[in-house]
């Protein structure tokens, strides 16, 4: 099973990278850009067929390693196995 994990800074936590990228995009005349929040994506391949268990295990991974819960939130997306 394929799982996508998105890690982002929590709302309210300063995101200097997003801010700097926003300013640069505006400088390149993408003036419609109001805000940018930077993050990371991890694509996991799990030897697990059950989506519920895959989600639960991925959440544990986020809590223990992938995210820094002090400042980051995570979001898990379970991708259907290719048919």
């Amino acid at each position: 099973m394929r799982v996508n994990v998105y890690i982002r800074l929590k709302g309210g936590v300063l995101d200097p990278e997003g801010e700097t990228i926003k300013n640069s995009l505006q400088g390149l005349h993408f003036s419609e850009v109001q805000s940018v929040r930077a993050g990371k994506v991890f694509q996991l391949e799990l030897s697990e067929e059950d989506p519920a268990r895959a989600r639960q295990r991925s959440e544990e991974m986020c809590r223990q390693l992938l995210a820094n819960p002090v400042i980051e939130d995570y979001q898990i997306e379970i991708m259907e196995p290719p048919s």
Binding site: E17, T20, I21, S24, L28
Partner: protein, 232 residues
């Protein structure tokens, strides 16, 4: 007299160091170039200093490469102007497409600040003009992303410096960042645009205990005197 311009991006932090060496050690005229400047008239060589332009956010050098001054640098280089990017300057030149390849995170995954030995691989560029082929220079490095990888093979640029041991042997233990072919510095095909990870401006004065870097700057002056400049 050779006129130097030092580009100062927001977040550059070796800008004053480069300026100091040109001004006090080489005693050549030197000018600041701001990141929004669109004209490089009046300078013969452009230095893109090290540091963390735009905080290294997104990718090291990515945001600086897309500022107005880099359009001017591109035009300057096309006319044959000399451009030297050091450390973050090298990263910016790669991001701007002025040099082939990219700089990835060090194989150790850590920032590395220490002296390294590099071997001079070619002396027919203005930047290595006064050096001897195969000479070993002791120059500091200080970077997190110095792991050079070519974009296509065969490599389209020219290798100017390779990491080596104190005797000049290219050995894995002397490669501080995992660079392809132990590359420490490269030039474009024409030889007028150079990027290097080591910092020659950090070893150009006796008081700092190391002077191998000054040979690179002196090469520029010798070339300028002997070849008499380029057709701009």
């Amino acid at each position: 007299m050779m006129r130097f311009g030092v580009i100062r991006f927001h977040g550059s932090n070796c800008d004053r160091d480069c300026y100091h060496v040109v001004d006090r050690v080489l005693q050549q005229p030197v000018y600041w170039i701001e990141q929004n400047q669109k004209d490089l008239a009046g300078v013969d060589v452009v230095l893109i200093p090290g540091g963390f332009s735009y905080g290294d956010y997104l990718r090291a050098g990515a945001i600086a490469a897309r500022t107005p001054v880099m359009d001017a640098v591109r035009e300057f280089a096309e006319r044959g102007g000399l451009v030297l990017g050091i450390c973050n300057g090298f990263q910016i030149l790669c991001e701007a497409g002025l040099l082939p390849g990219a700089l990835m995170v060090n194989a150790s995954l850590r920032f590395a600040c220490h002296f390294a030995h590099v071997r001079v691989e070619a002396v027919d560029t203005p930047f290595t003009w006064a050096l001897s082929p195969g000479a070993v220079l002791r120059i500091p490095i200080a970077h997190h992303q110095g792991n050079f990888q070519p974009d296509v093979t065969p490599f389209q640029g020219r290798v100017l410096f390779r990491y080596c041991d104190a005797e000049g042997h290219i050995v894995p233990a002397a490669n501080p960042n995992g660079s392809w072919e132990a590359v420490a510095g490269i030039a474009n095909g024409r030889g007028n645009v150079v990027g290097m990870m080591p910092h020659p401006e950090r070893c150009s004065e006796a008081v700092l205990g190391a002077t191998d870097g000054v040979g690179i700057f002196r090469s520029l002056l010798c070339w300028w005197e002997e070849v008499g400049g380029y057709d701009v």
